[in-house]
Symmetry: C2
Subunit: 402 residues, 2 copies
């Protein structure tokens, strides 16, 4: 079809493969090129593309080869964290639409560069933060906008995901997390929880994050895990991982709200993003899937547990319109459909040549939490100011829509 | 009986009344005197004492009158927060055993004074922190000591209790919280959650708290509540309460553990102390009453919810011995029995003339979080050092026993 958009995938990490493997490309998206430093990954990806009935894609180990091609409309960057901003800036310079996978930045300067290149080139770059498309996250945002929570005062979230196998096996699996956990100590993955919270609080849209403190616990989880799984003679068992098991970051916002983020990826636990919103009239808590509305759903004694799982009762009335529509169509793709929805939003913008919903200002603000947390941890939890990457435009930007 | 101990109750706040009203005095405890600035409270308390079959107690508005009496072995201080340390020091000077109700301090110097007076006089003062006697708190401590959680890395807790009616009605009810919320901004009530966490982490017993940061949200909850309940013309509706609705405090410990505390008392919500313990082998979470043990109870997908409420399955094997005994005897008293247990421990020490289980070093460390959080909040969440009130003895003190 003439309307087809043609994309290149740069860095075939897990999300890049998911994009292909889960047949989640919305209709009219052709994978014209794949790039990875490893040949076997390129070949595997190309096989998936042809297996899905598309033409054999161009393969390269050098992403600049993809950026040079006129037949590529957009690139999706699913490489290691440290490549995201560099590749995104080069791609914007080459006039491509860019989608970058979730991850933190390595310096505040890099975040500023992302903004500067977007402003110089007029190109669009979207942070593909799938959790912004979570059903509960969007329903809560919807309820907040309808006033059910009153004035929102505090939010919490976390990336609370036992990644010990992935991190510890990083060398065998060619996963960049191994090195990051060995060498760094920071809130290394803030956007899964911070994105939806930013949308609830109107960050970069009438509100902004002002400052943070960050505190890391000791690093004990990986050692214990490796000792059990690999024994005491295995080299990594005796390495000093610098990444604290739990990193707690507290953010203060311009309108007086606070946000508490927790990185929690190297201890045994169930998966949770710990999404939690509190206002003067209501509260949402992911960890027992409860909604508390003053004067309505308001069992005060926790032990009654009457309200656990009552979130289900709110979907009919308060599901976000895009989720209502999506459910009607039938949920597709991994991660409960949020990957599908975020890619759909990106490809819609590419096709319509419009601005992307999660833009460089959001990406810069959210990704900057990583180097800022590193600064705070390295200086004994000193408070650190969070830059205004919009240079004042946040007071006028319109509310977020998915 | 000759073995009877005779106590005075100073400041007839809610816990003082509970002590009387719930007939929770262990056998052999006589209330010989009651003190309050309000005559009606003194009379009410005296009526409860005689109603329980004891002799009419001495009544006074001046607690020094109680301290002078030779027939008083111990005093229980359930007055307003700001009187706790002052009265406790005077009582220790007078040679009495002292029990003080939970609450934060107003200055670090006052905490040092509590320690100094104990060391000068040799008298004993116990912080009556009932939550240290909570069933789950003690079971988790028991499990930690048996190694089920591996190396403990991080704990969380909170005082998450909707007190809007109590605070807003403070003038009518002669409750000191009203003034505190009007004038101060701090973690004003840390000990309910911090006490049990300190016991899990061995604070003052091989470990200690080193530093903290504290961040307060805006104060919006009381205004919204008063507007709804009392209308816009009511004077307090238009007062600027300084106490932020949510205060998040992050503490770093000597052995690298982190503790996150949340004060959350002026927004609509269910009651929770948010007790949460994470180690290299296991996790406990109050908010869905789950225990996660690596390789045993380890459903990774939160949505399966299989492990919610599985705490019940652990009581048989891991209940703390004092709870096993207590359940055999039949639970007595308010607050699920924890008031009974904490008073029992105090009166046992008074009767046996032994040291108290929660002593001035614990009280000083835990209560100091309040003024230290106030310092941090007032300086933009700057990190603040937490004093070593034991002057080095924490490295040698024995592990806590209830």
């Amino acid at each position: 079809m003439n309307d087809d958009i043609r994309i290149g995938i740069i860095g075939l990490g897990c999300r890049g493969m998911a994009l292909l493997g889960d047949v989640m490309l919305p209709q009219g998206v052709r994978v014209a090129a794949v790039c990875d430093m490893y040949e076997d990954r390129r070949d595997q990806a190309a096989d998936m593309v042809t297996g899905a009935g598309q033409a054999d894609p161009f393969r390269t180990a050098d992403y600049h080869e993809i950026l040079k091609r006129d037949d590529i409309d957009a690139v999706v960057v699913t490489a290691a964290w440290e490549a995201h901003i560099k590749v995104a800036c080069d791609a914007m310079q080459a006039g491509k639409y860019v989608g970058i996978e979730a991850g933190g930045a390595y310096s505040v300067e890099d975040c500023w560069k992302l903004v500067a290149v977007k402003e110089e080139t007029g190109s669009e770059c979207m942070l593909l933060e799938n959790c912004c498309y979570g059903r509960d996250e969007l329903m809560v945002m919807n309820m907040v906008r309808q006033g059910l929570f009153g004035e929102v005062v505090h939010c919490q979230g976390g990336y609370r995901h036992d990644l010990r196998a992935e991190v510890a096996g990083g060398r065998e699996n060619r996963h960049y997390r191994f090195m990051n956990y060995l060498d760094r100590n920071c809130e290394n993955y803030p956007t899964h929880e911070l994105g939806p919270i930013a949308n609830v609080l109107g960050i970069n849209r009438g509100n902004r994050m002002l400052s943070l403190t960050s505190t890391a616990s000791k690093a004990a989880g990986l050692h214990e895990y490796l000792l059990r799984e690999k024994g005491e003679d295995y080299d990594a068992t005796n390495m000093n991982f610098q990444q604290g098991d739990i990193v707690t970051t507290v953010i203060k916002c311009a309108h007086g709200e606070t946000i508490s983020l927790t990185l929690d990826t190297t201890l045994p636990r169930f998966y949770s993003r710990g999404f939690h919103v509190q206002g003067t009239k209501g509260m949402y808590m992911e960890d027992n899937r409860s909604i508390f509305i003053d004067g309505k759903d308001n069992s005060y004694d926790f032990k009654w547990k009457e309200q656990w799982n009552n979130v289900d009762r709110y979907y009919d009335e308060y599901d976000h319109p895009i989720w209502k529509e999506y459910i009607k169509e039938g949920i597709k793709g991994q991660h409960d459909g949020i990957d599908w929805l975020v890619f759909k939003a990106f490809f819609n913008a590419v096709r319509a040549k419009t601005s992307v919903p999660i833009d460089v200002y959001d990406a810069a603000a959210w990704m900057s939490i990583t180097p800022l947390s590193e600064q705070s941890i390295s200086t004994g939890s000193m408070p650190v100011a969070i830059p205004d990457f919009t240079n004042g435009a946040w007071m006028r930007r319109k509310q977020w829509e998915p």
